[in-house]
């Protein structure tokens, strides 16, 4: 091994550290600015949007949240290569289930091909006070504190307008990068409404911002949609349990495969 070959990893390591520093020095100030600007401009934006489209407030806020997420993707884009694939198989309405690796996963959902998406989450995201009002206005579902009838009713309303409901069925971010056990909510909703599940696999956000860290790292993030899963294939009172197992198995296989496979479409 010659000297230049031996020095290459050290140089690459230094470059990566510089890139990571630049990412953190630019991202946090710009994110703060983007959030503050968004909060200040949102009343006027909402009003203009309402006057121009006549949409219901929830739908408008959901689109506005999507723009917010897209802005954050743009901010990190010089340092984070983002790819998506399989999106042509997504038909609406649908229930999206996504594996959960990082706080940043939610923002990458702005890259979905449609933006009328209600997030079904636990109680804690509603405690981020700067987002709470927008989450309420967007009719996001607090599955920990809502009655199941209410979850069904809100979801049905969205489905009739060709919208989607998105779950992180693991409930929490994975600390190991491995897929955790799934909760039943998304699959029960699918079984009761007949709306198909679209499994989404996200990779790379654990490199970018793993749980418990605040220092961002450059990464390659991929969002891959798997073929939809029809609840009609899982009949019976425990059909949702079988569906949950099947979807989790599909996602686990796909995530293992995705580590080494090329993706096609870059955002």
């Amino acid at each position: 091994m010659d000297i230049s070959t031996r020095r290459r990893p050290a140089i690459t390591g230094k470059c990566n550290m510089i890139m990571a520093l630049l990412l953190n020095l630019t991202f946090y100030p710009l994110m703060t600015l983007w959030v503050v600007l968004g909060i200040l401009a949102s009343p006027l934006c909402l009003l203009i949007w309402k006057l121009c489209t006549g949409w219901d407030w929830g739908r408008i806020v959901r689109h506005l949240i999507s723009i917010h997420g897209y802005g954050l993707i743009v901010i990190v884009s010089p340092f984070v290569r983002f790819e998506r694939c399989g999106f042509d198989t997504i038909k609406r309405p649908c229930i999206l289930v996504v594996n959960h690796l990082s706080f940043f996963d939610s923002y990458f959902m702005a890259a979905l091909p449609f933006h009328d998406v209600i997030f079904a989450v636990g109680a804690w995201p509603f405690k981020m006070y700067w987002y709470t009002l927008f989450m309420r206005l967007a009719n996001y579902l607090d599955v920990e504190n809502s009655a199941w009838d209410e979850v069904i009713r809100t979801s049905q309303e969205t489905f009739t307008k060709k919208g989607g409901v998105l779950f992180f069925p693991e409930g929490h971010r994975s600390k190991t990068g491995k897929l955790q056990p799934f909760y039943s909510g998304a699959f029960r909703l699918s079984a009761e409404t007949g709306v198909p599940i679209v499994p989404l696999c996200i990779t790379g956000t654990d490199t970018m911002l793993p749980p418990g860290r605040s220092f961002l790292h450059p990464a390659r993030v991929r969002l891959t949609a798997l073929p939809p899963v029809d609840p009609a294939a899982f009949p019976g009172s425990s059909g949702h349990v079988q569906m949950r197992k099947e979807v989790r198995a599909q996602m686990a296989r796909a995530l293992a495969k995705l580590q080494g496979e090329p993706c096609q479409t870059t955002l």
């Binding site: 199941w148 909760y183 029960r188 425990s238 349990v241 197992k245």
Partner: protein, 85 residues
């Protein structure tokens, strides 16, 4: 429905929902032994509501449930209360 039938339905429904294969006695702890957490409690409530066709989410007593035996007692009492109403 007898108490025993209620207990059997609770046990089978929970074993299926949470894919639990361990022993199920009234002393079995939901959190330590069955490994449930706060989000699982959401699923647990829905399972019981569906199995017994009753609303229990708003019940204060549900918050103090810790063992399988607590669930048995709670559901039996609730069923008897509904039947006598």
């Amino acid at each position: 429905m007898t108490d025993q039938q209620i207990i059997e339905l609770i046990n089978s429904s929970l074993a299926e929902e949470f894919e639990y294969q361990g022993g199920m006695t009234p002393e079995t702890s939901l959190f330590e032994e069955m490994g449930l957490d706060s989000l699982d409690v959401v699923d647990l409530v829905i399972v019981l509501e569906t199995a017994f066709d009753m609303k229990i989410r708003e019940e204060e007593a549900i918050r103090s449930i810790r063992t399988l035996g607590d669930i048995h007692k709670f559901v039996i009492a609730k069923k008897r209360q509904t039947e006598s109403a």
